[in-house]
Symmetry: C2
Subunit: 353 residues, 2 copies
Amino acid sequence: MDLCLDERSKKIFQAIVQNYIKTAEPVGSRTIARHYNLGISPATIRNVMNDLEEMGLITQPHTSAGRIPTHKGYRFYVDSLMERSKLTKHEEENIQIKYNDKTNEYTDEIFHLTSKLLSAISNYAGVAIAPITSKSKIKKIEFINVSSKKILMILITDSNQVKNKIIDISEEISSDELHIISKMFTDKLKDSSLYEIRNSIKNEILLANKFEINKPEYNELFKKTIHFAESCLNIEVDKDIYLEGAANILKHPEFSKINKTKDLIKLFEEKKDLFKIVARTVETDGAKVYIGEENNISEMNNCSVVICSYKVKNLPGGIIGIIGPTRMKYGKIFSIVEYTSFQLENILKLLID
Amino acid sequence: MDLCLDERSKKIFQAIVQNYIKTAEPVGSRTIARHYNLGISPATIRNVMNDLEEMGLITQPHTSAGRIPTHKGYRFYVDSLMERSKLTKHEEENIQIKYNDKTNEYTDEIFHLTSKLLSAISNYAGVAIAPITSKSKIKKIEFINVSSKKILMILITDSNQVKNKIIDISEEISSDELHIISKMFTDKLKDSSLYEIRNSIKNEILLANKFEINKPEYNELFKKTIHFAESCLNIEVDKDIYLEGAANILKHPEFSKINKTKDLIKLFEEKKDLFKIVARTVETDGAKVYIGEENNISEMNNCSVVICSYKVKNLPGGIIGIIGPTRMKYGKIFSIVEYTSFQLENILKLLID
DNA sequence: TATTAGCACTCTAATAATGTGAGTGCTAAA
DNA sequence: TTTAGCACTCACATTATTAGAGTGCTAATA
């Protein structure tokens, strides 16, 4: 966005945004004159503010109030004026320590931890999405008999995500036989992406040939396995998204009235919508923000979402992010999200091979 | 609680409670005289109300207001006066249909569904706790190699709960060897309760003897397995408790001010505390309620928790419940929780063998 | 021409004043 | 024992009043 603002207007605009972010109060010309010594009088500032308002960057809640940034204003601020504020040593260490505690295990716990971290450091809500499985490849398939006619199917992806499901079968299969079948299935399906599997379902017979299946019980297992693998495609929205610190958001004055806040809380419960908001971009180049109405959901009109993707094995993995009020410390939040993404990638490298 | 109330007082008290539950407004003597034709005048009712107040069953928010039940009042109502209100055919069918959709799979999804059901039917928050594992017994232990020095450990309990974890080992073990080890471990540890395992950790050597272990890499695996089994004891509070419909609670007028409500939301996020509140009783005989202060947590002073345990294989399993305002439709909620528990038990019977 | 001082004006938010009504407790009569 | 009647209380809604922060405009100034 190029707005051809002269230097002075930029300074004033910046002052307005920063002051409003800090105080949550509309900013008047006097305040700026006093606190930011720009060497000009309130009257001059007022003139400039008038221009800024005409450009749609700021607005007045009511006639005799100071100015607050519009969404367009925040967007301009983020794109052109914002300065990243680095994390403190303490904050960086905090992140590292928490991650290192988990170094010895790879479970979804990592993502849960990530959302907690993001929330704790930012004082807003933190969100993390486990690697999006549709692009994952199968590393291993395994079958274990649970009882006479129930089998536990286990699918391990190349990013070491473990999915499992208990299915019923019509004929008992022995443990040893299952072991052999497991090896066979792994052998045949290894390195297929779940995406490929979905496409190949329509050609089940084709695939069946690949297995040279003759025993009917194998065939049953085969079909169920394929369908299981396919179901892993459909992101388990409720499980793969971690949200923490929603209550943090309520601290801020813009959420002091219950009515709209109630809707927001509801949105947070409905992981499905939340997922859409956070994961609409699969891959970002650094942090990226959606401001207020840009989220295209009325409940989020007063919220901004800062997201950043992370990689697993140098391929797109998932998304992490922070949700807070539009009146957000963008500079800091951008840094937090990017740094956390970086550390998460590091830890994942250690845990996956 | 025996309060020696004469019939008339009981009627009046009941009228107050029911009216307050319906309207959320303090109930005055005139209201009762008009709407519940007890054949007595407001003045008489006032006299009785005075008595009831002295007994601590009702109170006045302020001098010139009507009466509302105290916690003691609710307790008396629940224990002595409440009438269960049956579920409608429609509600019962709703529950059955939802469960039947899941008949073919046993995963934690069942408990998630349960909390959703409870929430949807009650219009309050629904909560479900997966079977408490400390009393579960081991049915199967299985090892799968994920990569050269990483092994996926899988533990299946007698209630078919699947726990898994990826661990590092120092020496590679082949798939076939792992298959044999799996059988051996399952054989030795089968039917041990996790509780027993915890106790036996101190006697690790004793147990080691049982395995006649000589290969050092088996020994390593053995130790890690035991510790994994033990860690399954520590309920994964974040995973094993399902809360849905927290936003429902906010609809009700007693939660119209943000401040206290904020704390409640926070409590709901902290699954640990929630767990303590819901799961302090392992087994109930029918539904059971904790009213307001009985929860011993200030955030819950305006909430009641109706819980009911469910069984798995005729042994204590977990807990389900509903959290709502103390001004709750107790009669209905008790029925919902008990009926749902019953249906849940049925479905679990089908899914576990 | 750009800036600024000054002033009238606007609007919110806080505070105070007032009235209304629901509900009570008490007393005396039924 | 019950009830009618009445004085009293208190929350809540309504209205008035005031203070103050901030603006826009105009005319003077640099």
